[in-house]
């Protein structure tokens, strides 16, 4: 599989957001690299999440999203670069940083033997700023009973319990790794509502990784897209979608557009190709029979992870 050239958009370290006052960064990741003996390497990755916004971290399985989240949490050690959370170094000021983070992983970190009440007690032990009343409000809202044992909760309910705990200690930045996996569509909508309300005051931010791009369409302000360990894009969500187009046509028309293709998928009846928006007019000008359409985030992920040319392996 051939990887197309990444388009990297690095945000300024201070951006003008929601008004004219420069906003501080909730999270700044600069030239971070991490390599494993297995051959997988991440980075260099650079992106900024301004305070008061939601950023979606996207990419296919094995792209390095969870590795990046673990690096931010200092659960694994970076080989190079720097990470600043709420203006603090994530290693030198690790404890101060973690006191202000709410974290949700893709699987429950609460013991399967604990009750919901005990999970709350443990989280209250962890954070001095714990708000028991708020926690109980979230439990009511999510339909979680205090006496229920974690192992008897469905995966979706376990996620809700972690979300309730993450939201109940005054965290300034939420870091969520696949928080919507296992949640039904109503619960996902509810979570997106909660996240949007959470950032409304401009003092809170969210970084969440997901495979479910409809969640991003609804809630994310920024997107960071990683594929095969490399940063492909970081920046405003709308610009991400606007910077590409899908061009469709019959197989005999494909050869002419190959130089412009970022990713291409061939079918028995024709092809669809991802191209940068700025070359669309030129392509259509040369071959007016081709059709150009706006892209979804799913289209971009799908077509940036296939070959540019027409190998048989790409055939559906």
């Amino acid at each position: 599989m051939t990887q197309s050239s990444p388009t990297t958009v690095k945000q300024d370290t201070q951006v003008v957001a929601r008004g004219t006052d420069p906003q501080p960064m909730a999270l700044s990741v600069t030239d971070v690299k991490k390599s494993y003996g297995s051959g997988f390497s991440l980075g260099p990755v650079t992106f900024d999440l301004p305070m008061g916004y939601i950023m979606g971290l996207i990419g296919p399985n094995g792209a390095g999203k969870s590795t990046l989240i673990k690096l931010i949490l200092n659960m694994i050690h970076r080989d190079a670069g720097s990470i600043s959370v709420l203006g603090l170094d994530n290693r030198a000021d690790e404890v101060k940083v973690k006191e202000q983070l709410g974290v949700v992983f893709d699987t429950s970190y609460f013991s399967t033997y604990w009750t919901v009440k005990m999970a709350g007690q443990v989280t209250a032990t962890m954070y001095d700023t714990w708000n028991q009343a708020l926690f109980e409000q979230y439990l009511d809202r999510f339909g979680l009973e205090m006496k229920k044992v974690v192992k008897d909760l469905s995966r979706g309910m376990q996620m809700k319990l972690m979300i309730a705990a993450a939201l109940s200690h005054g965290a300034k930045l939420l870091i969520l790794d696949e928080p919507t996996s296992g949640l039904d569509v109503l619960a996902r909508d509810e979570l997106m509502d909660i996240l949007q309300r959470y950032v409304e005051d401009g003092q809170h931010s969210v970084l969440f990784s997901t495979h479910i791009t409809s969640d991003l369409e609804r809630a994310a302000d920024f997107i960071t897209y990683i594929t095969q360990g490399q940063l492909y894009y970081t920046g405003p969500k709308d610009e991400f979608e606007d910077s590409f187009r899908v061009v469709k046509g019959s197989l005999d028309q494909a050869a002419g557009i190959e130089p412009y293709v970022v990713g291409l998928r061939r079918f028995s009846t024709g092809f669809e190709a991802l191209v940068h928006r700025e070359v669309v007019d030129k392509i259509i000008g040369e071959t007016p029979e081709l059709m150009s359409e706006p892209v979804s985030i799913d289209d971009i992920i799908r077509l940036t992870n296939v070959a540019k040319a027409f190998p048989d392996a790409n055939e559906e």
């Binding site: 970190y109 399967t112 033997y113």
Partner: protein, 237 residues
């Protein structure tokens, strides 16, 4: 080191073991058995009332208390592995150094409780005679339990939980085998002289064998804690 952070890590380890020992984990019946078994041995030894029963029962109680309390720290690793709570150590606002100290403090608490249980068992067996033996056995649990924990805790930080538990059990069996081997190979008269020396030797008013035992245990515990910190600081969670 930060006492507030250590306290957080310590309390979370207690939550982990409490939940494990509750009805949702191994069950409170198993815990009662674990605590009740030494007491049962002590009562049997008391009723038996002769050296043929008292000696083996007393040795069994001490061995059991040393093994269970010394393994309590490494059992937390096993518990974390079984329940997925190891991930909780990632976002926990406690530095890795303080997480290690918290776990060592938790293990030490388990050993102190075992030593107190040994005192109760000793009183049941020996009261009102041989009160020196009661104190001696309690110090033995304290010192040997601490030494055993000092050897096993770094293994818990270095290896995956299942492997670490295997190594800890292997170490326990090896230590037990050495004791049995000494018992079998040493002539009885020599063995009796050694036991008499260890249990009665005093330098002036001080039970110096006990003092040396405690000092060795403390030094090993501190060195072990430093080693665990070194390992855990570099570990990828």
């Amino acid at each position: 080191m930060d006492s507030k952070q250590i306290n957080k890590a310590f309390r979370i380890d207690i939550y982990k073991i409490l939940a494990w020992s509750s009805g949702k984990g191994i069950g409170s019946g198993s815990v009662l058995l674990l605590v009740g078994l030494p007491l049962l041995f002590a009562i049997v030894a008391r009723i038996g009332g002769n050296d043929g029963i008292t000696g083996p029962m007393s040795g069994g109680i001490t061995g059991l208390l040393v093994a269970v309390s010394g393994m309590m720290g490494i059992m937390v690793f096993s518990y974390e592995d079984q329940t997925g709570t190891a991930k909780l150590n990632g976002p926990l606002p406690v530095s890795r150094v303080n997480q290690v100290v918290g776990r060592y403090a938790f293990t030490l608490l388990a050993i102190v409780i075992a030593a107190l249980l040994q005192v109760i068992c000793g009183l049941v067996i020996y009261m009102p005679h041989s009160m020196g033996a009661v104190a001696g056995l309690a110090v033995t649990v304290l010192a040997v339990g601490t030494i055993y924990a000092s050897l096993t805790l770094p293994i818990g930080y270095r290896f995956p939980a299942t492997k670490a538990m295997g190594y800890a059990l292997l170490l326990l069996v090896a230590l037990g085998a050495i004791m049995v081997l000494i018992g079998f190979t040493m002539p009885e008269s020599t063995l009796n002289r050694v036991v008499h020396f260890v249990t009665t030797a005093k330098l002036g008013p001080f039970p110096w064998i006990a003092i040396i035992g405690i000092i060795v245990a403390v030094v090993m515990f501190v060195l072990s804690c430093r080693l665990s910190m070194h390992i855990y600081e570099r570990k990828e969670l």
